[in-house]
Symmetry: C2
């Protein structure tokens, strides 16, 4: 294996996943992952550009950044690339009015979006809001559309909270895809557009960037397919059994 | 198209789906589908053998038969082939102790099954019991098993209640399959074993039987793959758009 210096030659920017890399979410706001507060501080003092690239879709960026600052991270909203704001851009561009199957914590990100008379469904990590009633409502909205459009904020299978592994939005997206016989459009990692927007926001080319995450598919695979380098941490949902 | 007499030549037994064929479930026990009480009575007076072959997994057979009798059907528990009793046989044969992700209404079917220290998950149409918490618990049980076994009572995408279309167990099975990276074993239609057990119970060969249902995949396709003839009714979840 090449030395770290060689493997990271020419890197000008670092993209950091948040959940499972910076902290494990959970009761009381979660806990930081050992050493990561210091690691982020060192990165930000270095010559490297740093950006946070998350599929967090249960909390607004404001809430997320507040939590992380409370845990000791030097981070601001403007440094975070997250799927809800990216989805809002797409909705506006395409004149889509979503039925929102989302957690109350992220609803504020959609405050400027017209949700009357829905012509699509946006699904995010709704957590406890993934009730049968809410899932069924989203299903019924899709079944009534001539051309059902389902926009999914990520495709994660699960993530790790302090209390254990938790089902992520990808599982519920699969459920709706199967029930309606459709394919969702994914906003968030591993979508190439999402990585590209993060790179643009930091002003770095793909070959000059490294993505650091705990998800072998969403973080590592997605970044590599965009021409970036990628590192998988052994925290968060990482498991030696399957690497994800 | 051949005349009915020709198409049904040699038929000795009729298998009837229940939901969407006999009745639409819903508030107050549901409503019978026009003409079907009389049709079942005529079939039972004829020389044909009749059996009810359902993927109903939210109610026990006792409860289901009680509802149908109340709606005017001449039907007894012994005439019903349903997935929960079939699953119980499999669990016993293979020494499996299930974690049950099921509706309270069907729990009595599993009364004789050892559910301590689970080594598999059984998922049925849990309806309102498909909460995030219950789904996550089933997911966590599967993720802790060395060889996760998921037994799904049917694979239906949705069914029709009097209030509209409702997500069925298949959608939630897909969610767990995706999250855990596994494939469920299906007990119920369209599994060939399930049709074969119904045929055995009525003492009729596949080529002598016709299946009548509203589901183009679970009823019609499944029966045809077993060598049976099949008819799709235009009630229940039938839609002229997609035939299912």
């Amino acid at each position: 294996m090449a030395a770290w210096g060689e493997r990271l030659a020419g890197v000008r920017g670092v993209l950091l996943d948040i959940s499972g890399v910076l902290y494990d979410s959970g009761e009381g706001g979660g806990v930081p992952i050992a050493g990561s507060v210091e690691a982020v501080a060192r990165l930000k003092r270095s010559r490297l550009k740093v950006r946070f690239c998350t599929n967090e879709s249960q909390k607004s960026r404001g809430h997320l950044v507040g939590l992380l600052r409370h845990l000791g991270y030097d981070i601001s909203e403007g440094e975070v690339t997250a799927p809800a704001p990216a989805a809002c851009l797409i909705l506006r561009e395409r004149g889509l009015r979503p039925h929102l199957l989302v957690h109350d914590g992220v609803r504020s990100e959609f405050a400027q979006v017209d949700t009357s008379n829905p012509n699509c469904v946006v699904i995010a990590d709704a957590g406890e809001s993934f009730s049968y009633q809410n899932m069924n409502k989203a299903f019924q909205v899709l079944m009534e559309l001539e051309n059902p459009v389902l926009i999914s904020l990520g495709r994660g299978r699960y993530y790790k909270e302090t209390s254990g592994l938790m089902l992520d939005v990808g599982a519920y997206t699969k459920a709706l895809e199967y029930a309606c016989g459709i394919k969702a459009e994914v906003v968030g990692k591993p979508s190439p557009e999402f990585f590209k927007s993060a790179l643009q926001q930091m002003g770095v080319e793909a070959h000059q960037a490294v993505m650091i995450g705990d998800d072998i598919v969403g973080d590592v695979g997605g970044a590599q397919r965009c021409g970036m380098r990628a590192l998988q941490v052994r925290t968060g949902k990482f498991s030696p059994k399957c690497g994800a």
